[in-house]
């Protein structure tokens, strides 16, 4: 089912962006409090996971739309996602972790489904 790939791509993009946002000190402190400091070891892990999630997001949409249209659609999808997450980080930082977990669950679930089919 093709639309599963689109949802997966969206969810992976959200997860990836949120993980990457946590590597930025300002947003980490938005989420965990003013004095929180991110451990250097986790920084690397978050960074790798974030970029991997974005990569999977790209692959998902290319599988759905093909090599020609896929990357174009992905650009649009990233723009809209990033803009939405910027609003989330500014207005509801307490939701960030929930949103990330939720998005990851949907991403993994949908990818699993599309692989099974």
């Amino acid at each position: 089912m093709s639309y599963i790939n689109v949802i997966a791509s969206f969810a992976w993009a959200i997860s990836g962006f949120l993980l990457l946002a946590l590597t930025i000190e300002r947003h980490y402190q938005d989420v965990y409090g003013k004095s929180a400091v991110l451990d250097k070891r986790y920084l690397k892990i978050l960074y790798t996971l974030g970029w991997t999630a974005l990569l999977i997001s790209f692959i998902s949409i290319v599988i759905y739309k093909g090599w020609f249209v896929g990357p174009v659609a992905w650009m649009g999808l990233l723009a809209v996602t990033a803009f939405g997450l910027m609003l989330l980080l500014a207005y509801k930082p307490s939701w960030v972790i929930k949103a990330a977990v939720f998005a990851l669950a949907i991403a993994i679930g949908n990818t699993f489904f599309s692989l099974v089919q």
Partner: protein, 545 residues
């Protein structure tokens, strides 16, 4: 030196953006609406039937073939649009009659319909012809056309104006990237709210950065569209000077009649051949050249949404059904690149989902320009307050901003309202729809001059909101295509447009409320200045009603 460089880049960014900002906003608003021009076309022609009910492709083709056999037996060509794709909301059949003696043969142009020939919309349940005599209107296409040809001026002049503005935008994008490239990743999501100019700056940056690929693509490809206008000799060298020759290049050579009658190969069978080639339910239309002649050729075209720019076609012998050799036209790498870039700009291939992404990216583009324009004024207000006076230039920018950012969307709403309210049989109503839009915009541009800045913003946004919220209501009282009908029937294209109007109206109300409730940076500045009770004339200018 480095600081100097940064400063000059900032200066260039500010002024290249400001001087053409209002025209760019117009281009972006009409262009964003243009991604849905076919849908808006349908909304603006409420006499047309609702979307065809879904039907198996072979049933539709059989119906259409029967209708064409009885209605257009002697025609030079037939075209059947199979409902289901974006461009084919109806089971639409069109045909082109042979040229009258002495008439120039209309080389290659497929069916009728789009090119002014006869056409019928068939009911997919009964096969009957559905009544459709649309009102005279420019529709979504005319609105979309303003995106590149503006209005009230010759095409060439508009092309130069739009091109120069696009060039300025390109400069603004490049300098913008230079200004912030160090912070792109660190401040990717940064938006500090409630901090006056700082917040505007953040918002402007975030929108620009997150949609940067889209903006670069759209600006660069926008310039390419005018390639032949700016370099008029190139097409003459490439395609020769003759109009017919150029036309043949675009529409292909379609052959000649043989003169011997021969029964036409079954179109349902031809459809099956097409589905073998392109996949089930992937055929968009079927064209027949010279039906009933032994030289007949059937051309089958797939849906657009999987191809960036080269649409494959299957050609079948019109009497035997043998698949014809149809080598793809030879395209140079340069032309191919050009075609792909233009196709990405227009989003021809976009299905519903990607089309909405394009639309949202377009809205973000409008927001980028709007925040940039507002930022210019917000940054300069404190200084002006210190001087106790707004310069004429500053006042002008403030007012143009209100009339454009808040007013232009309202003018577009007036265009749609005019479509419903101008009597259907009024002569020249097509032009009057456009006049209404521009007269409305003019009034919304003049109005803020008589109001304080804050009141101006609130009131014009409220007017725009009222116009959009009125649209579905007026639609309800003037047509049979309102939400009550489209939702029940499941015509999501028409319903979607009305719902989008409502959403736009609500957004404008929200913005107006936000401006009203939010103490502007100026009031804050005044308070912290431990000012005396009487406000400076400038603060009055901004705040008083």
């Amino acid at each position: 030196m480095k600081d100097n460089f940064h400063l000059s880049m900032t200066w260039l960014h500010t002024w290249s953006g400001l001087v053409v900002g209002w025209v760019l906003f117009f281009i972006f608003v009409t262009g964003t609406a243009g991604y849905f021009y076919m849908e808006i076309d349908r909304w603006m022609r409420p006499e047309q039937p609702l979307q065809s009910k879904t039907v198996a492709a072979d049933v539709a083709v059989a119906m259409a073939e029967k209708h064409l056999q009885s209605r257009a037996a002697g025609a030079d060509s037939w075209t059947i649009n199979i409902p289901g794709a974006r461009e084919t909301p109806y089971l639409n059949v069109s045909w082109r009659n042979p040229p009258k003696p002495g008439e120039e043969p209309n080389q290659g142009r497929g069916g009728g319909g789009r090119f002014g020939g006869p056409s019928d919309i068939l009911d997919t349940q009964t096969g009957e012809v559905q009544p459709s005599k649309p009102r005279e209107t420019g529709g979504g296409l005319l609105l979309y056309r303003m995106h590149w040809a503006l209005h009230y001026m010759p095409y060439e002049a508009a092309a130069w104006i739009v091109g120069i503005c696009t060039m300025f935008m390109f400069v603004a994008i490049i300098t913008g990237v230079i200004i912030i490239y160090k912070k792109i990743f660190r401040e990717f999501f940064t938006f500090r709210k409630g901090k006056g100019a700082r917040s505007w700056m953040d918002m402007h940056t975030v929108i620009s950065v997150t949609s940067l690929p889209f903006f670069i693509m759209i600006t660069f490809s926008g310039l390419l569209f005018y390639l032949y206008t700016y370099m008029p000799l190139a097409p003459k060298i490439l395609f020769g000077d003759e109009g017919a020759q150029r036309e043949r290049r675009f529409f292909g050579d379609q052959g000649k009649r043989d003169g011997n009658a021969a029964p036409l190969f079954s179109l349902v069978e031809a459809l099956k051949l097409g589905e073998q080639e392109f996949g089930k339910n992937q055929v968009r239309n079927i064209n027949v050249q010279f039906p009933g002649d032994s030289a007949a050729i059937i051309t089958i075209t797939p849906k657009y949404d999987r191809y960036l720019n080269e649409y494959p076609q299957l050609k079948v012998n019109g009497t035997t059904g043998a698949v014809l050799d149809n080598p793809p036209r030879k395209v140079s790498a340069v032309e191919k690149t050009n075609n792909v870039i233009l196709a990405i700009h227009e989003g021809v291939f976009a299905n519903t989902l990607i089309r909405w992404l394009y639309f949202l990216a377009g809205v973000l583009g409008c927001a980028m320009i709007a925040t940039g324009l507002v930022l210019w004024t917000v940054k300069r207000r404190p200084k002006a307050m210190k001087n106790g006076k707004f310069s004429f230039g500053h006042n002008l920018v403030e007012r143009l901003n209100i009339g454009t950012v808040a007013g232009l969307p309202g003018a577009v709403a007036i265009y749609f309202l005019a479509n419903r309210l101008i009597p259907v049989d009024l002569a020249g109503r097509r032009e009057w729809e456009v006049h209404a839009m521009f007269i409305g915009w003019l009034l919304l541009l003049i109005y803020p001059a008589f109001r304080s800045i804050k009141r101006g913003w609130i009131e014009v946004f409220l007017m725009t909101a009222a116009l959009y919220l009125l649209l579905p209501v007026v639609n309800f009282f003037t047509t049979e295509r309102h939400l009550g009908i489209s939702l029940l029937y499941g015509d999501w294209v028409l319903a979607g447009i009305d719902i989008t109007f409502l959403a736009l109206g609500c957004t404008c109300v929200y913005i107006a409320m936000k401006i009203k409730r939010h103490p502007s940076a100026i009031t804050k500045a005044v308070k912290t200045k431990k000012a005396d009770d009487d406000l400076t004339p400038v603060t009055n200018e901004v705040l008083s009603s």
